[in-house]
């Protein structure tokens, strides 16, 4: 079996999430870090125990599915957070635009 460097994988996953979320990253960091570490630990434990014969194939398959679901849940959370972040950026720009146009015109046109 190929040996996976989980610390490296977690580090890269966290970096990718931090890059996507930028200013919002500190607010979700603790949740994300804990869950990504859990994913890596669980994946490691399942493969180790399956290889050692402590888990039957069906149980290992079900455990892997739970780990997959965790990863997909975090993916959906990041996607949602990125959308919220973009929404805030667009609305901040629109607020500036509105103020500028209203000032230029001299009354509240927008």
């Amino acid at each position: 079996m190929v040996e996976i460097n989980w610390e490296d994988v977690i580090g890269r996953m966290l970096q990718a999430a931090a890059n996507s979320l930028k200013g919002d990253w500190p607010r979700v960091r603790s949740v994300m870090e804990r869950d990504l570490r859990d994913i890596a630990d669980d994946a490691k434990d399942i493969e180790r125990d399956y290889a050692a014969g402590k888990l039957d194939e069906q149980t290992a398959k079900r455990y892997r599915q739970i780990v997959n679901n965790k990863a997909k849940t975090l993916e959906a959370l990041i996607r949602g957070m990125v959308k919220l972040s973009a929404e805030r950026a667009v609305n901040s720009a629109l607020t500036v635009l509105r103020a500028t146009v209203n000032t230029l015109v001299g009354w509240a046109v927008l």
Binding site: V31, N69, T73, N91, V101
Partner: protein
């Protein structure tokens, strides 16, 4: 002369269109994600309590008749489907709520796997519970965090 009028009319049309676009854009705030839903938040908290209570009960009753799958089918076949249906119904009421819907569907899948493990093993083993609980906790934590972010992330009151 007429060419100048046409050119002038074109310029006004362009200016008008640009102003209209600006008005439309600036008048309504952009929305990429649904609003915060206090009812969904409340339903999630109540459902989490129910699931946690069940998991604790299964840990206590491991090896006893009360912990056997056959004696807990009501939870999987009656309580869970109703709760999930209510959550999905609530989440589907709002536009732009795809991430929340996806997270609820993944929670549903985790609960289905818990049932399969329970059925396969007769009881939920310590290892089953650890694995299931970690998956379910991620689901609830992410759903609630995102719901809170929809509110506080938009500068609404905490």
């Amino acid at each position: 002369m007429s060419r100048r009028i046409v050119r002038g009319a074109g310029a006004w049309a362009l200016t008008g269109a640009a102003l209209l676009a600006l008005t439309l854009a600036a008048g309504c705030p952009a929305k990429f994600v649904s609003d915060y839903d206090p009812q969904l938040d409340k339903q999630l908290t109540e459902f989490q309590k129910k699931v946690e209570t069940f998991i604790n009960k299964m840990a206590v009753y491991r090896g006893k008749p009360e912990g056997r799958y056959e004696n807990n089918t009501d939870f999987y076949q009656k309580e869970v489907p109703v709760e999930i249906k209510l959550l999905l119904f609530r989440a589907n009421l709002q536009d732009k709520n795809q991430e929340t819907i996806t997270m609820i569907e993944l929670l549903q899948n985790n609960l289905k796997i818990m049932e399969e493990l329970h059925k396969d093993h007769g009881y939920l083993s310590e290892r089953d519970l650890k694995q299931v609980q970690r998956g379910i906790n991620t689901s609830f934590r992410s759903l609630m965090l995102f719901e809170q972010e929809k509110r506080t992330g938009r500068g609404e009151a905490k």
